[in-house]
Subunit: 196 residues, 2 copies
């Protein structure tokens, strides 16, 4: 049933996403599946979450705002000023209502894939990172990040957060507090593990 | 009376700070005074806040922790893991109890000089920035930042926050959420001003 469902979703996404985004979504699906096998998460869930993570991304921003309101999604000041941050929480609601996905773990991974959050689940970490390193991605340092992703998930995540924060600062954008909490949380946990 | 008080405080700081930190404190005092004149803050308050901002900085960390506890300062997880963040709030209490400074505006500028915070007062902005650009400071980009500080206080502050965030990331340190809120707040206000 899962694979049938995936075929249907792929057909739907091919219609609703632009070509680049569609390829990116397939890339995230595959990368998430491989990372799930590497780190012991459920590969089918990772595949599905990776595939649908950007399902709301190509909806025009004014419509995203309207849809978010209709779904009862509460947007903070940062999301209102940086509309690119809406498609995560909105995507989770579309995945639930349009693609009939009820698995909260998958929906949360979609919801958080742009900002991250403190205390992320393994699946959430895998989707965040897969989005960053899938084969279509091309930016300075992406090769190192890909290599790191298969060696140490946490180290790779911190590097991805740092890269994201640098990118936002370069364009004088707003930094979402959840990204900062996500990064701090991992570093704090690592610090506690390393203490004798 | 203010100038007498300043002379006494300078003598005290000469004893409790190391030589470099003492020079730095005089540098912040002078820079803050000049920036206050430039932007219409009270130069005497700026001088005093600049002079004392690091009064707790050279106390050993374990003693800073103990003193903070005795003063009833509540430390968050980030401050507990990054003890360099304690000397701001602790310095404000020492300034009050040892140097008999009662002006809450000055004390808040000392309290926030390491992290910043959302909705900073003019004096708080001046002290944060003076700490970053006083003549002893030497890092890549400091000359540009000095020039910017006298042209556009807000732009210079954002550049200082960005530089601080980069520096913390380079050493895999924790980012204090107040620094992020401080930066976002200024950008959000600028965005609102720029809207028609």
């Amino acid at each position: 049933m899962m694979s049938n469902n995936i075929e249907n979703i792929i057909s739907e996404l091919k219609k609703s996403l632009n070509e680049g985004r569609f390829k990116h979504s397939l890339g995230v699906m595959e990368t998430a599946s491989v990372l799930a096998r590497r780190y012991g998460a459920d590969p089918e869930k990772a595949q599905l979450a990776g595939l649908i993570h950007d399902c709301a991304r190509d909806i025009p921003f004014d419509r995203q705002l309207k849809m978010a309101e209709n779904f009862g999604i509460l947007l903070d000041d940062i999301q209102k000023s940086e509309p690119v941050l809406i498609h995560g929480p909105l995507g989770a609601e579309i995945a639930r209502s349009t693609f009939d996905i009820k698995d909260e773990e998958i929906l949360n991974a979609v919801r958080l894939h742009t900002t991250g959050d403190k205390n992320m689940t393994l699946l959430e970490k895998i989707i965040y990172l897969s989005d960053y390193i899938e084969p279509q991605r091309c930016f300075q340092g992406v090769e190192d990040l890909r290599a790191k992703a298969f060696m140490d998930l946490e180290e790779a995540l911190i590097a991805a957060f740092d890269s994201c924060i640098r990118h936002v600062m370069e364009r004088q954008g707003l930094l979402h507090p959840k990204t900062i909490s996500a990064r701090n949380f991992i570093l704090l946990c690592k610090g506690r593990e390393e203490r004798p």
